[in-house]
């Protein structure tokens, strides 16, 4: 038997939907096998997960809490990966965005600015922080051709150490220095009430809070979609992603594009950091075992890949994956060992990655290799 893999000249539209859906189905079957082998009933487990993610009282609200940062980091990854700029620094860019927006919230919130302006300033500060942090690998790539994958990855750790340092090892602006608790254990300052982001409460499931960040994420997806499919900038960025040489001959300014795309990607992750502070934590979460353990930045790359870098699909996938992660946190216990959700998530991702082959290539199984006719030669080209 002989397996031949041929590149598709045209990628049919339906495949872009059918393959991810099929991959998830395959993944669920494989994960069911893993569950069965390790002594868990797969159907009961899936039912439990689904209920805990979307159906139980208050579960949708909790899912949104997890899905919102995933949407931001997913969009951040999608923005850069589309141009084949592998910014895997959304993790660190989110931390830096959280640091800068927390500073803005603390300062402006306690100086009597109205909430709307404080929130806007926090978003702007998050954008600035994230974009600045992402510009380090951006500048290095644009001017020294340094591989952005590794530099952006390394900076995640540096950002994490800075975040922890600001609250735990120095009396910085972000650290609470007054009160009894603060003298016993280092804590960060709470945001003043004016700097807490408003949310909308929906009447379903006994009140779901729709965080402002979730709305901003959808807005960002819309802007990103328009930017990439409706503007000259987006077109040039995509050409650059497909063929750097073609783009150069067409007169695309390579350095500017790299700098801009990295900054945009970092800015989106930075808003994610601002939303962490304003929407959910209301303080700078510097504990290495809290925000930093959630690894939203890395999971965002998974979200982006599953959404095939399409902004709307990314938001949808973030919601579903957020549900899965939320269910894992809710159910964790003796019957539901920690790590199970990570395993399922990993299998889904592997299946989606493998399935990508079917979108880009045609797989032919033949008894033996046929002599290459003109048609086959054209298809393989």
């Amino acid at each position: 038997m002989h397996v031949r893999i041929e590149r598709r000249l045209r990628q049919p539209r339906w495949l872009a939907v059918a393959v991810p859906v099929g991959s998830v189905a395959v993944a669920l079957v494989v994960a069911a096998a893993v569950l069965g082998v390790t002594g868990h009933d797969p159907l009961t487990t899936y039912r439990l997960l689904f209920d805990a993610a979307f159906l139980n009282g208050g579960s949708l609200g909790q899912t949104l809490v997890t899905a919102t940062p995933l949407a931001f980091t997913g969009l951040a990854a999608a923005a850069a990966f589309r141009m084949r700029l592998f910014n895997i620094g959304a993790e660190g860019q989110l931390y830096v965005g959280a640091i800068t927006s927390d500073a803005a919230g603390l300062y402006l919130g306690s100086h009597g600015w109205p909430t709307a302006l404080v929130v806007a300033a926090m978003v702007a500060a998050g954008i600035a922080g994230g974009a600045a942090w992402a510009s380090i690998p951006g500048v290095l790539r644009a001017f020294f051709k340094t591989n952005e994958i590794i530099t952006s990855l390394m900076l995640n750790y540096v950002a994490g150490y800075i975040l922890t340092y600001l609250v735990f090892n120095t009396e910085s602006y972000w650290r609470e220095t007054k009160g009894f608790n603060a003298s016993v254990f280092p804590t960060s300052k709470n945001l003043p009430a004016r700097a807490v982001w408003p949310g909308w409460t929906l009447p379903a499931q006994g009140g779901i809070t729709l965080p402002l960040g979730a709305g901003i994420a959808v807005l960002v997806a819309l802007v990103l979609w328009a930017l990439y499919s409706r503007t000259r900038f987006g077109f040039e960025a995509q050409v650059l992603g497909d063929s750097e040489r073609a783009a150069r001959y067409a007169g695309v300014r390579l350095r500017r594009k790299i700098l801009a795309v990295m900054a945009i990607s970092g800015a989106i992750a930075g808003i994610g950091g601002a939303s962490q502070v304003g929407d959910f934590r209301h303080a700078l979460d510097a504990d290495p075992n809290s925000l930093q353990k959630r690894q939203y930045g890395y999971a965002g790359i998974v979200v982006a890949a599953l959404g095939r870098y399409n902004p709307f699909a990314v938001v949808l996938v973030a919601f579903l994956l957020g549900g899965l992660q939320n269910a894992g946190i809710t159910l964790e216990g003796p019957d539901f060992p920690a790590g199970l959700v990570g395993v399922i998530q990993g299998i889904i991702l592997f299946a989606a990655l493998g399935g990508e082959l079917l979108v880009r290539y045609r797989v032919r199984v033949a008894r033996r290799a046929k002599p290459e006719g003109p048609r086959a030669a054209v298809e393989a080209a």
Binding site: L140, N147, Q295, A299, G342, G346, L349
Partner: protein, 321 residues
């Protein structure tokens, strides 16, 4: 035992550096064949948990149990790496996304955690641990005592591994072939080298090294098991490969240097020295230095002499060369 700060820091730098060294040697082999595997952290964690599981479950004499545990850890790491190898070599998936997927699948919130929690391994002391090999008289010698004679068997074995990898890459035919596959797979293919087989073999062996690196944590450094016990060492190992210009002998130096940096802050703290910013720079220095080295490597001119394998991260598709 009254050793100076420098001796203690170097001695524990060697101990902390050993898992980094194993993981980096494995990653180096994979990268030399052109496969970037960002799943090191995940492979290490699965190796760590499986190694620990073996010592807790196997009731044989210490030497045999530990050898079996290291073997199991290596197999577990290799199994993880083979997923990555299949996805990126046979299915041509993005090496970056696949490696990250491996870390998510296997890592601190994935398979390693599931395996550990499902068999209730947390919060148990290890039944067997790797201890110093040499008699305590030798360990009391000044300076070389703690640094050279106070280490466990994995440390000495790692020196052998460095020598073997160096010899393999520099002095053997398959080693030359790997370098060809990593630099120019099309040329290697034309020479009759089986690119796919070489890439599979080196990625999987690289995973075995990462598994052993994980076992170094649960059997020697902190002989117990908790979620995410490697604490980011896998990422430092990836950095280390670049820092060492893809050379095994420099990996050794780099691993001990990064290991000593890790040991510095706790040692200073133990001596009652106020840390302040020290903790920030000692912990970020490996990452910052790696970035600087990368900039240096990517500057033209230096690139040819020191640079990465030219085909690193690129899938090889015979029809599209």
């Amino acid at each position: 035992m009254n050793n100076g700060l420098a001796v203690v820091v170097i001695a524990s730098g060697v101990a902390y550096g050993t898992p980094l060294l194993y993981a980096a040697l494995g990653e180096l082999l994979a990268e030399r064949s052109g496969v970037l595997n960002l799943g090191v952290e995940g492979m290490m964690l699965v190796g760590a948990v499986m190694g620990f599981w073996t010592v807790q479950r196997l009731h044989a004499d210490t030497g045999l149990t530990l050898a079996a545990a290291i073997g199991v850890a290596a197999v577990a790491g290799a199994a993880m790496a083979s997923i990555h190898a299949f996805l990126v070599i046979s299915l041509r998936a993005s090496q970056i996304v696949s490696g990250l997927a491996l870390t998510i699948f296997a890592g601190a919130a994935g398979l390693s955690s599931y395996l550990g929690n499902n068999s209730n391994l947390a919060d148990q002391p290890a039944s067997h641990t790797l201890g110093p090999v040499f008699p305590s008289a030798a360990q009391r010698w000044p300076v070389v005592g703690p640094i050279v004679f106070g280490q466990n068997a994995l440390v000495y074995a790692s020196w052998l591994c460095v020598a073997l990898v160096w010899l393999y890459l520099r002095r053997t035919r398959p080693g030359l072939n790997v370098r060809a596959v990593g630099e120019s797979p099309a040329a290697a293919d034309a020479m009759g080298i089986d690119v796919v087989r070489y890439r599979y073999a080196h990625t999987v062996v690289g995973g075995a090294f990462a598994g052993i690196a994980g076992a170094a944590f649960t059997l020697a450094i902190t002989p117990q098991w908790v979620d995410g016990i490697t604490g980011g060492a896998g990422w430092i190992a990836i950095a280390l490969v670049i820092f060492a210009f893809w050379r095994p002998e420099l990996c050794l130096l780099g691993a001990y240097f990064f290991g000593a940096l890790q040991a510095l802050a706790p040692q200073l703290q133990a001596r009652g020295i106020q840390l302040g910013p020290t903790v920030l720079w000692t912990s970020s220095l490996p990452y910052v230095m790696t970035i600087l080295v990368l900039v240096l490597v990517s500057a033209s001119g230096a690139r040819r002499r020191l640079g990465a394998p030219a085909a690193l991260g690129l899938p090889y598709v015979r029809e599209e060369r």
